[in-house]
């Protein structure tokens, strides 16, 4: 089954134009045209498809919540989904740091453990702090979602979606560098984590959209503070 977002009411207000329909994938007219690759790879475990819908007919009872409600559902759907991605990013970053330490302590070059070469200890310290910051921001967003729901926690969700994938990207990149060429292969999970981090800076809202949300809220709060200061 797929949840399909499309435009049902072009004349309606901008956020009431779309509907969400449940479509079984074996309905006549649905076809996977090709599989896309991520950095030339399958993006395991199940990758991404390009799918064509050609006069696909399903009962109107398959519409979720009602005509014109698709946009609000799609937006709501992404709140918890975004933070779940960030939680997993923190775990992936921890694993990458673990692997980096293991390798850095076990291998030697130029008469020293890799960890003692070329600023690697300082790098470990910086990555540890970056991961902890990302985790605290993730927990903060989670705590807010539980107290006021995803809409009220909008700012915290935007903040962590901006931070966690980038922190994972940074940690994985340093881990790969310390491993050398082995880090590029599927002998380690690092290549998969690198693809995950890079993709997540685009998926479920690209970085720029989350910055836009944060800036909008920041400006609104600044104006509210200014108004309070000047009100009698």
């Amino acid at each position: 089954m797929t949840l399909f977002l499309g435009r049902s009411d072009a004349g309606a207000e901008r956020h009431r134009q779309h509907s969400l329909v449940l479509i079984p994938m074996d309905t006549p007219g649905v076809r996977i045209e090709r599989m896309l690759s991520v950095f030339g790879d399958v993006d395991a475990p199940y990758g991404h498809g390009e799918v064509v819908f050609d006069n696909v007919r399903v009962p109107a009872s398959n519409v979720v919540l009602g005509r014109g409600r698709g946009f609000e559902i799609a937006q709501g759907r992404l709140g918890p989904g975004r933070i779940h991605h960030c939680m997993r990013c923190v775990g992936a970053a921890e694993r990458a740091l673990d692997l980096m330490l293991e390798r850095g302590l076990a291998r030697t070059a130029f008469g020293k453990p890799l960890l003692d070469l070329g600023g690697n200890r300082e790098r470990i310290a910086d990555l540890r702090v970056a991961i902890d910051q990302a985790r605290l921001l993730t927990l903060h967003a989670a705590w807010q979602i539980d107290r006021v729901g995803a809409r009220g926690a909008q700012r915290a969700i935007a903040a962590i979606k901006l931070v966690a994938p980038s922190v994972l990207q940074q940690v994985v990149d340093e881990a790969i560098q310390l491993f050398g060429a082995a880090g590029l292969s599927h002998d380690l999970p690092l290549a998969a984590f690198a693809a995950q981090a890079r993709a997540l800076r685009i998926a479920d809202g690209p970085d720029a959209v989350h910055r836009k949300t944060l800036a909008k809220l920041e400006i609104a709060e600044h104006q509210a503070r200014a108004a309070r200061r000047t009100s009698p």
Partner: protein, 223 residues
């Protein structure tokens, strides 16, 4: 002496002031954390005892069952000719471990609803999802993977009783899989109001036309 005075400082910071007692925060443009900043409310990230217990179990499962086969699964998927989608198949390791996790009750941990899911708060789920994140494919062993989780949430919150019976129940059971078709090659889909695939209401039916891409999981829904 020093400790006692530190405690006093913390108490003073944490106590609601007379002018803005907790619970009567001004509304309007202020976000939740702006109100928090104003009022000096605390933050508590302590997981529940039950979440701690599950974290131990999820971590042990990943350490003992998943990590030993991680490299084999990554190699297996890397060797697939995924450009021919009909040749894709799920790793037998994944199917086996999904059954194992399910039989141990390590299942649907993402869903806060206690009847259909594990009943964890978002905060309690955070360390569990973090533990799953340590292995690239681990989330799906616990039925906690995107895009199925988001779709289950949609059906849980907004689905009709018929829709829930037909799709939510089997998704919670992992007997069917799902995808989410939003992104389109023809428009900047970062602005969701651009989405232009057509849905026409015709009598008791809807007729759908359009092209979607980056549809994660479409391959395992179709197979």
């Amino acid at each position: 002496m020093l400790l006692a005075s530190l405690r006093l400082v913390f108490a003073a910071c944490a106590a609601p002031t007379e002018s803005s007692p907790a619970g009567t925060a001004p509304r309007g443009a202020l976000t939740y954390d702006a109100r928090l900043r104003q009022q000096g409310w605390g933050m508590d990230f302590e997981p529940s005892g039950r979440a701690r217990e599950y974290l131990d179990r999820v971590t042990a499962f990943i350490d003992r069952e998943v990590l030993p086969i991680e490299q084999a699964v990554l190699a297996e998927y890397a060797a697939l000719d995924h450009h021919d989608w009909k040749r894709w198949h799920e790793s037998a390791h994944i199917a086996r471990l999904r059954d194992a996790a399910k039989s141990r009750g390590l299942w649907n941990l993402f869903l806060p609803d206690a009847e259909h899911g594990a009943g964890f708060t978002t905060l309690d789920y955070a360390p569990l999802a973090e533990a799953m994140g340590r292995v690239p494919f681990a989330a799906e062993l616990f039925n906690c993977n995107a895009p199925d989780t988001g779709n289950m949430e949609v059906l849980h919150h907004f689905g009709s009783p018929e829709q829930k019976a037909r799709w939510l129940a089997p998704l919670l059971d992992a007997s069917i899989r799902s995808s989410f078709c939003m992104t389109e090659p023809g428009v900047a889909s970062s602005d969701a109001t651009n989405i232009e695939a057509d849905i026409a209401f015709e009598g008791d039916d809807v007729v759908v036309n359009g092209r979607k891409w980056w549809i994660k999981s479409a391959i395992r829904v179709a197979r």
